[in-house]
């Protein structure tokens, strides 16, 4: 009798795991089929023969797909670094420096985080065009940073709040300045918070679509999700290339999620619950 609920539990867990993973498994299987295998009817469930030819063609025939992944990396890393450094400073000020209006500023940051990205598009496109920032890494990095800064400030502020105040007070007694306290005491103590926030911001930036679509209009500057979605355009839809490129574009994200699942989980729930 006692085993009954355990059995149901494992059944339900198993079911959720299978449902979560099957699209990715199907994607990977598709990417290892020959063109004939992909368009076979009845459907070929298992690749027969298994081939890595599609992966080879990404290097030889459609190198632009690797370029998209590289662009995503540059933008993602740039955005993460900028977001953490700018957001870290203000998160510290708003949570620890007993600033006037800190509460009001936090609410302002929270409300702007809810702006729909589409609402930003007409004006951002126009000003980026006038400023010559279209199709530039720095432009998209700046745009992504603006988009994800509110989340970063909230996350880091809530992390700083968990650190004991006494250390800072002691340091101030010793005559240390604010910047030195921030860099030599706060930063080393709060790196787990920075890691969690940084990983989540990187994933956000990697996955971001509307701004990346509109602000990078040249094919060579597209990020991975946008480039692959638009590949190859109107007439044909070569699934062998698309599924292979998709595997390559999601692998970095899947690896990060798998390795840092605890940090990411903690970061996500801390950011949304409070």
């Amino acid at each position: 009798m006692k085993n009954r609920p355990r059995f149901t539990l494992y059944l339900l867990v198993g079911l959720s795991v299978v449902i979560s993973f099957f699209p990715i498994v199907w994607l990977i299987l598709t990417s290892m089929k020959t063109t004939a295998g992909i368009y076979a009817w009845p459907v070929q469930y298992w690749p027969d023969p298994v081939t890595l030819k599609n992966y080879w063609s990404i290097f030889t025939e459609t190198p632009e797909l690797l370029r998209y992944v590289l662009n995503s990396f540059i933008v993602g890393v740039g955005c993460t670094i900028l977001t953490l450094s700018v957001g870290g400073l203000s998160g510290y000020a708003l949570s620890r420096l007993r600033m006037r209006f800190a509460g009001v500023l936090m609410v302002v940051i929270l409300s702007v985080s809810m702006f729909p990205p589409i609402a930003l598009l007409p004006a951002l496109f126009q000003s980026f065009l006038q400023l010559g920032l279209l199709n530039s890494y720095s432009g998209l990095i700046l745009a992504h940073t603006g988009l994800f800064l509110p989340y970063t400030v909230w996350m880091l502020a809530s992390y700083f709040r968990t650190l004991p105040v006494e250390i800072e007070e002691a340091a101030r007694m010793d005559g240390m300045g604010f910047l030195r306290i921030f860099f030599t005491i706060i930063l080393p103590l709060s790196w787990p918070g920075f890691v969690a926030t940084g990983l989540i911001v990187f994933i956000f930036s990697w996955n971001e679509f509307p701004l990346s679509l509109v602000l990078m209009t040249q094919d060579a500057m597209r990020t991975a999700p946008v480039g692959i979605s638009l590949y190859p355009g109107e007439f044909a839809f070569p699934w062998e290339t698309i599924s292979t490129a998709t595997v390559i574009a999601i692998i970095p994200i899947l690896i990060i999620t798998a390795i840092f699942q605890k940090q990411i989980l903690g970061g996500l729930t801390a950011g949304s619950g409070k």
Partner: protein
């Protein structure tokens, strides 16, 4: 000699310095564009913004009122939100309850909850588009072979079916996020409440209804509002899955606004759509902030 007063003043000064870069970037990337969208929506201007701007009043809003495609996209957005959010909530609560149990293989289960969240929506939509494919798709193959369906279905080609297909993809991807927020709420419920309940001889269902659910109300509210705001601005899902088709049956407000702005190249008309959408979402976000306030 530093007096308290100068220390206080210095703190304010340094704090200001620390927050300035953040507010500059936010003003530049978030606030200015929204204000500019409002200005664009009541005027006429060239796409590159170099021609002089001309104020035209509410002309573009009046045009929207008689634009069938606008109303259609608004209703598509609302229907999509109204169907997917309750489904997500039920699944989310279920998943959260599961994840709150202790069992072997919990790491794998946690990964299964995180994976759908971590995938880029646009690429996720492509993967499903291929599984939905009417000629070579996985769903038709499995459905036919198992006898669940008697003939191949055109998942993305029929108006009702396309909406249902889009809802399924969205629910698959985002129930897990709903579950994460609710799980955080679950873990903050004190254990001894359940022990007390057990003493009183409560059944599992009674425990859920009388302890868990009332204490989860806050987290559920937060999850609902965050997810609704996301659903109301859904863009890349229909962009990659159906391109809004068939016949605008899955064209969300965001997708329609994008097409008006960048395909029909009518910045001012598009800005009006964007402002309407913004107003809806902003009202919801105020509700969210008030809810959060109430929690503290």
């Amino acid at each position: 000699m530093i007096t308290l007063n100068t220390l206080e003043r210095r703190t304010q000064f340094v704090g200001l310095g620390f927050v300035t870069p953040t507010f500059l970037i936010i003003a530049l990337i978030l606030i200015y564009p929204v204000v500019q969208s409002i200005i664009l929506s009541v005027g006429q201007s060239s796409v590159d913004g170099f021609e002089p701007y001309q104020f035209v009043g509410l002309k573009h809003y009046a045009a929207l009122m008689v634009d069938d495609r606008f109303w259609r996209s608004l209703s598509v957005t609302l229907i999509f939100t109204a169907i997917s959010i309750p489904l997500e909530l039920i699944l989310g609560v279920g998943l959260a309850l599961l994840m709150n149990e202790t069992f072997r293989g919990k790491g794998l289960a946690r990964l299964a909850v995180l994976f759908p969240w971590a995938l880029p929506t646009a690429l996720n939509a492509l993967i499903w588009r291929w599984m939905y494919n009417a000629d070579y798709g996985l769903f038709n193959a499995v459905g036919l072979e198992s006898g669940l369906i008697s003939e191949p279905m055109n998942w993305l080609g029929d108006e009702t079916l396309a909406m249902a297909s889009m809802v399924i993809v969205s629910v698959w991807k985002t129930s897990s996020f709903m579950a994460l927020i609710i799980l955080a709420g679950l873990q903050s419920i004190p254990r001894d409440l359940y022990e007390a309940g057990r003493m009183d001889g409560m059944s599992r269902w009674q425990e859920f209804r009388e302890i868990t659910l009332p204490l989860l109300k806050g987290s559920i509210m937060v999850a609902l509002i965050i997810r609704s705001m996301d659903a109301l601005r859904t863009f890349e899902l229909p962009f990659s899955l159906t391109d809004g088709g068939p016949d605008s049956a899955t064209e969300t407000l965001s997708l329609y606004a994008y097409k008006v702005i960048f395909e029909f190249v009518e910045f001012n008309a598009g800005a009006a759509i964007v402002v309407v959408q913004f107003a809806v979402i902003f009202a919801l976000s105020l509700l969210y902030i008030l809810t959060l306030r109430g929690k503290d």
